[in-house]
Symmetry: C2
DNA sequence: CCACTGCATGAACGATCATTCATTAGCGCA
DNA sequence: TGCGCTAATGAATGATCGTTCATGCAGTGG
């Protein structure tokens, strides 16, 4: 077979490895890691089952690769969007916008990273838990800063942080592109809800 | 084998059918439907694999039975806890308390009902989606009532309803019994967050 | 005391699973 | 033109999957 044809349709420049990542990502997100077979992934890529093992050592390694790659990219993007210092209100609003928009842009990655922790074996699980903790820590830091300055009505930082993240992440379960509201409009609704839940009435703009 | 011994340990009065339900529930919640085999379920119950088919026609039928049973019980319990009429603020607070406490009391049922929709075949899926919609509708009704009376700061009822349910349901992902806060204390924190997110400052008591 | 019923058994079914591997094809580079 | 490497093949591995079924036992009602 011509090598240049072993490519997912519509993505003529993708390497096989990238095509495997893309195929596995959407299949895992759609039906869950245990329900997806290596044969299905290979079929979507356009190669035979054995070919995947030229790029990934095992199905588990493929999952870990996807999850870890996503979480690292998420942290990098967050730190680029939400500057370390500054007004806690603005940082929080920015955190919410970032979280909602990133999650709507990459719903498959997000879904896998949050749902397939249970499919991980010990090594990968420990690494992923740490990355997840680091992300949540970013929000806790913002809440604590606002608490110190007295601009947020905080009852309990850890509980509220987990509650807010759950609320924001949940947007992926119901939002569909092309619906009544734009992604940005949805993000602003969430900003308002989050701000109000912390006793902040007016929403800071960008 | 003595029939009276074919029983899950610690549950001496349970019928085999109930034991299968319990075993399947916790295994599905822990590792996901596709990752659990009928052999594992039977092993936990203390019977052989074939025995399950004396009580359920298939693995899929077992899943549908669990999910549908949970959702119907949830709706009945909700309607018993949150009266149809009355003050929207009190009804909402009661909805939040109910949702949080029920979810903390039955985390496995809840988790399966929300996560295993994708494992359902067409028939069961349609029925479960309708039950889920009915539950969410209860919250939308409360928000609409409050909007009509002008006691809630509503931007968008459907979006806020989904956001609130996601926030509340997320409690199961982090709360563990025996931790710093009691279930009731956590529920009250959520009540406060929800109320604030709707512009209601003081929390109505029960 | 017998017949009936309900339920557990345990072996077997074909299908599918993740993974391995010897083989080979095609590419870049000399 | 030919060498060497990367990667795709396709068959085979043993394990495990959901499900079926003939068999037999235990408890119940007549």
């Amino acid at each position: 077979m011509l090598k240049s044809e072993a490519i997912i349709s519509g993505q003529p420049k993708a390497s096989t490895k990238q095509a495997i990542e893309r195929a596995a990502l959407s299949l895992f997100a759609e039906r869950g890691y245990p329900a997806v077979s290596m044969r299905e992934i290979a079929e979507r890529v356009g190669i035979r089952q054995g070919g995947i093992y030229n790029h990934f050592g095992s199905k588990q390694a493929l999952l870990v690769h996807l999850m870890e790659g996503h979480m690292r990219a998420l942290l990098v993007a967050l730190d680029a969007s939400v500057p370390k210092g500054g007004n806690p209100r603005e940082r929080l609003a920015q955190f919410v916008r970032f979280h909602v928009l990133y999650h709507l842009a990459q719903p498959d990655d997000v879904f896998i990273a949050y749902m397939e922790l249970r499919s991980l074996e010990a090594d990968g699980l420990a690494r992923l838990k740490e990355l997840r903790r680091a992300y949540e820590e970013r929000l806790r830091r913002i809440l604590e800063a606002g608490q110190r300055l007295g601009v947020f009505a905080i009852t309990d930082v850890p509980v509220q942080a987990m509650g807010l993240i759950a609320m924001l992440t949940g947007v992926t379960t119901w939002y569909r592109d092309g619906s009544r509201l734009s992604r940005e409009a949805v993000a602003e609704i969430y900003v308002t809800m989050v701000m109000r839940s912390l006793g902040v009435e007016e929403t800071p703009t960008m």
